[in-house]
């Protein structure tokens, strides 16, 4: 944590006045914030506040009606999922989205697809080099498996794993892409205390060892205060606070939002 904090650098991604609506529902209203290199940013807020929508905008699943997204210095109105992945954004989902029929190893290998030879359509015709390349990626995948301490479930179809381990495999798949920006949607939801501690440790290790920039959504305030460098608070689709954990903790609007004061 400390190390990462010292390394915090320039803006990696900035959202400006993003507006996103689904029919009559305003999921995000005029939201602006930035994510800086190497930091761990927590996005918090009550249910339905627009946190997941935020991540979906960043990786291009949702296209905001208004606003701009500047990522790695390039400004655009919206991201596209494939572009996001190709430029170093990886993510996990609130409702685990793994390839359930595949083994842990295969799931993690899938995370490396973009690291493999670029021209996707021609790969099939390219046997020799393809096999050699496959071996290299295999090694990288094994390193991630070691890192996350999931050696024993390497060959298990992930659909059969308990929830906590599935979350871990999903993190592994995201890490396999060696992302610059890692988006985690409630990585610790539904976990017991011990599993949460493990997950916190992995997140901090990723930040320290690889310098990965991380934006995560989390409901457990203890966890948020412990691991994040900065906190953005959303409520009813608006940003109501943005600052260090200590600043946010004392913020009146945040306390109101969490205690359910009427708006």
């Amino acid at each position: 944590m400390t190390q990462a904090r010292e390394r915090i650098g320039d803006t990696l991604l900035a959202l400006e006045n993003v507006n996103l609506a689904f029919g009559g529902v305003r999921a995000l209203s005029d939201v602006s914030f930035e994510i800086r290199e190497h930091e761990i940013l927590a996005i918090i807020g009550p249910n339905g506040a627009g946190k997941s929508s935020m991540l979906n905008v960043i990786n291009g699943f949702y296209h905001p009606q208004e606003g701009a997204i500047t990522y790695k210095g390039k400004k655009r109105k919206q991201m596209r999922p494939h572009e996001a992945a190709a430029t170093g954004i990886a993510r996990t989902f609130q409702n685990i989205a793994l390839f359930r029929g595949m083994s842990t190893l295969d799931n993690i290998m899938t995370g490396r697809l973009l690291k493999m030879r670029r021209n996707f359509l021609w790969q099939a015709l390219y046997w020799g080099p393809a096999v050699r390349e496959e071996m290299e990626h295999r090694e990288a995948a094994e390193r991630i498996i070691d890192f996350l301490e999931i050696q024993s479930i390497r060959k298990t179809p992930v659909g059969r794993l308990p929830y906590g381990l599935q979350k871990r495999v999903e993190l592994g798949r995201a890490l396999a892409a060696e992302p610059d920006l890692l988006l985690l949607d409630e990585p610790m939801a539904g976990m017991n205390v011990e599993e949460k501690e493990d997950m916190c440790r992995f997140i901090l290790d990723v930040s320290d060892e690889f310098g990965t920039t991380i934006a995560l959504i989390e409901h457990d305030m203890g966890v948020v205060m412990d691991i994040s460098d900065r906190v953005v608070v959303l409520d009813y689709g608006r940003k109501i606070a943005d600052g260090t954990p200590d600043e946010v903790r004392g913020n009146a609007a945040v306390i109101d939002a969490y205690l359910g004061v009427s708006h």
């Binding site: 699943f61 999922p81 494939h82 989205a97 899938t110 798949r173």
Partner: protein, 309 residues
């Protein structure tokens, strides 16, 4: 009466095992073709959740293109290559013109689009190559011979062998290459596949091309037996019961389902047909499918109950 239905047919089978074997083999060969058509369906359904109504017409279109080229004096091998190229180009066009604009739409809308596609393809095929019945002769030998008293036909064996080779190649391709892994990923979870950067467009082009080539092989087999004409597209109707039997998302299911229906309907026709006045072949597949829908709706190997159609 009961004796006639439940016992006599089996006595007949046991009484003349050679004839029974011939019936089963001829059923298997028909089954291979059903399997191929069903395989085209499954590939597309898995990768894009589209129930491709046009699969049957794709078989027709591929066969028409091949025959049309050969009628114009193109040698067989070149005509085959060109037809594969045409089917691939078609896959590109379908992605560009149709699928791309319908991403994230309801399954039923995509289904409707493929109904439209089937009319377009049929019209296009007939405009380009004419609508008369055509004879297809790709030079596969057609002599009969006997092994252990069982009468076999070279063409049938050739057809079965090429079907088997095709299926094996596809199985290896989809299981051991990274494109295969990407395809399985897409089939498993669209959103997650997008998030790891799998280009859906490419996957779609690949599966539609493969479905086109599989259709071509089915079209050649069927067309060489009974001529290339509109009715060729109707074998797709037989693929539906195969899918219900095998499960919409299972490649092995499509293959086994096709074989079961092929054999089942032949055997039923020969041994039970006379008891009910024949024509069992035309409805047997549907009855079997219905029974499956009642007792095992996910099919033999299906992963889940059909929910996308």
């Amino acid at each position: 009466m009961l004796y006639n239905f439940l016992i006599a047919p089996f006595l007949d089978m046991a009484g003349s095992p050679v004839f029974f074997a011939e019936v089963v083999i001829s059923g298997l060969l028909t089954g291979v073709m059903y399997s191929l058509v069903a395989l085209g369906f499954v590939l597309i359904f898995k990768a894009s959740g589209v129930f491709n109504f046009a699969q049957g017409v794709m078989v027709l279109f591929a066969a028409l293109t091949l025959v049309g080229l050969m009628e114009r004096g193109v040698p067989v091998w070149l005509a085959l290559i060109l037809t594969v190229a045409v089917m691939t180009a078609l896959a590109f066009a379908i992605e560009r013109i149709m699928l791309r604009h319908l991403v994230n739409q309801e399954g039923i809308i995509l289904f409707m689009a493929t109904i439209g596609l089937s009319y377009v393809l049929q019209g296009l095929g007939e405009t380009l190559w004419g609508s008369n019945v055509k004879r297809l002769d790709v030079g596969i030998p057609n002599a009969s011979f006997e092994i252990g008293g069982i009468l076999l036909n070279e063409f049938d064996l050739f057809a079965a062998a090429s079907g088997a080779v095709l299926v094996t190649v596809l199985a290896v391709f989809f299981h051991y290459t990274r494109i295969g892994r990407a395809l399985r990923a897409v089939a498993d979870d669209h959103q997650a596949a997008l998030s790891v950067g799998i280009p859906l467009k490419h996957i779609w082009i690949i599966v539609w091309s493969v479905a086109g080539v599989v259709g071509l092989v089915a079209g050649i087999m069927w067309g060489a037996k009974s001529g290339v004409q509109f009715s060729l597209s109707l074998i797709a109707l037989k693929a539906l019961p195969v899918l219900i039997l095998g499960g919409f998302t299972s490649v092995p299911g499509a293959i086994v389902g096709g074989l079961i229906i092929g054999v089942g309907e032949k055997v039923a026709e020969i041994y039970w047909g006379p008891l009910v006045g024949g024509a069992i072949e035309t409805w047997f597949a549907y009855m079997l499918a219905l029974a499956f829908l009642v007792f095992r709706p996910q099919g033999l190997f299906g992963e889940r109950i059909i929910e996308r159609v």
